[in-house]
Amino acid sequence: MFTVAKKEISTYFKSPIAYVLIGLFMLMISVLFYTPFSIGSGDFLPVMDSMGFFLIFLIPILTMRILAEDRKNGTEVLLLTSPTSLTKIVVGKFLAMYFIFFVITLLSLIYPLIMVAYGAAFTVQLAGAYIGFLLLGAAFISVGVFASALTENQIISAIISFVAMLAFWLAGTFAAEIGGNVAKFLNWISLTSRYDVFTRGLLGLPEIAYFVFFTILFIFLTVRVIERRRWVQG
């Protein structure tokens, strides 16, 4: 499990992907950060909200190759014929992605810390929002890994995960328009509605449970999809 994770992490940091993604994300946050900073507000929470939205663009690029490339290059044979189980391989790949996301998250802490340096307080709400951000990242990455298992084409994989994440993100927005029981359901599945709870500074147990369940479900589905493909198409 950690073998695969270690190898993937080193692959990302040996190629430009990791640096480009980290750079891109930092640039986006910097632009966002300028707004509260320029008006003299010490509130970083609105920025956190947008950071969550940016993950929809970032994560598909991060995860698009993680399984698709192995399939295309034939290295899947090596992984699947080794005594290491498929679940361990998939979890290892997920952990590698999560590690890179974690590095990005750590780097983004620079901005709230700048605020703290200028007199703002590092609030409990902000800590809560960061926990929410880490959970949201896990959920998105599991969707990305899942999408990468569906195809051997990296671009297709990126598009699938982008659309899927967008759907989970927008479900909450649609809910507001529709109303009724459908809205309740949409709000329930929406990752945003739940993420909003965190960025409002609350630490909701059902939300945490939902994100964890969501992540595990998609990792499980990834394993199933690979198994199934071997049986069906051979």
């Binding site: 190898k7 290059n73 051979g234």
Partner: protein
């Protein structure tokens, strides 16, 4: 060591492997021969657990691949047709990754990797990126990868494809050396390769086993008929009619003029004393017999006759 029984694999409506059965004994090198698309790679992918079979069983060392995949995978080193390589790793990094995947204890890894690289001739290239190596060296990395973990069984899918003649000889030497303690299945569509290394050959065509035997017995089986190429300095018609009178001759005809005078003939017969009788018959008539060349059925001939006729040769 490896038992394959009634193995069938269908891709949708297409039957890639149709009800094949064979055994490989411990320490044996089995050649798995067939034209492209015969089902060689599919069979190998099933033995190694990469693909599930549609029906039939594969057992390695008594373990069924479907019920005990981990036990089987531990015992097998697999070199697929396209070597599974990460181009962005150096040879050492890659082999260490494979060692970890195969649960080789950390302490043993260094020594084992050094041995393997020495054996396949990669020691001087250990620090180079796999992606920068030539095809021949990548093939060696592929072979090295299969050897990691010291598996009892090696499954090699066309191990010498794409190599230059010198490399082919070297890889063959490596495989021969490996065969002393291991059970090996080697696939190929190149016949001399199989006859050079393998103790037993299974010929597969269109998903079914067309023949199975040792290289020698296979050539004998098809070559029961004595076949001679002759050059005789004599009139064509008379020579043919004279030779046809000899006991045991079943076929005699000319194949044209020889460059140094005389005529070429081809003779087929069933008994071995034909050669002597032929000599005396020609001497009697004063037709010098300048050449007798037995034409041995090569594996090539066997292969083509087996594959085109689809006949059973045992």
């Amino acid at each position: 060591m490896i038992e394959i029984q009634n193995l069938t694999k269908k891709y949708g409506q297409v039957v890639a492997v149709n009800n094949i059965s064979f055994d490989v004994k411990k320490g044996e090198i089995l050649g798995f021969l067939g034209p492209n698309g015969a089902g060689k790679s599919t069979t190998m992918n099933i033995i190694t657990g990469y693909l599930p079979s549609t029906s039939g069983t594969v057992k390695v060392d008594g373990y069924d691949i479907l019920t005990h995949p981990d036990e089987v995978k531990k015992r097998i080193g697999y070199l697929p047709e396209a070597p599974p390589l990460y181009r962005d790793m150096t040879v050492t990094e890659f082999l260490r990754f494979v060692s970890d995947l195969k649960y080789v204890p950390k302490k043993k890894q260094k020594g084992q990797m050094a041995d393997i690289m020495e054996l396949v001739g990669l020691t001087d290239h250990r620090k180079r990126l796999v992606g920068n190596l030539s095809k021949g060296y990548r093939q060696r990395v592929g072979l090295a990868q299969a050897l990691v973990g010291n598996p009892e069984v090696l499954i090699l899918d066309e191990p010498t494809v794409g190599l230059d003649p010198k490399q082919i000889i070297e890889i063959r030497r490596v495989i021969k050396a490996l065969s002393q303690e291991r059970t090996i299945i080697l696939s190929s569509h190149i016949l001399p390769e199989v006859s050079a290394i393998c103790e037993r050959i299974v010929i597969i065509n269109k998903g079914v086993i067309a023949a199975e035997d040792t290289p020698d017995r296979l050539s004998q089986g098809v070559g029961q008929v004595l076949k001679l190429n002759l050059t005789i300095n004599g009139p064509v018609k008379e020579v043919i009619s004279a030779v046809r009178k000899i006991d045991g001759v079943t076929y005699m005809d000319t194949t044209g003029k020889a460059p140094d005078g005389g005529n070429r003939f081809i003779l087929e017969g069933v008994s071995n004393d034909i050669k002597e009788k032929l000599f005396y018959a020609m001497a009697e008539n004063g037709w010098p017999l300048t050449e007798i060349k037995p034409s041995i059925m090569t594996l090539e001939d066997i292969f083509i006759s087996v594959v085109t006729k689809g006949q059973e040769v045992r």
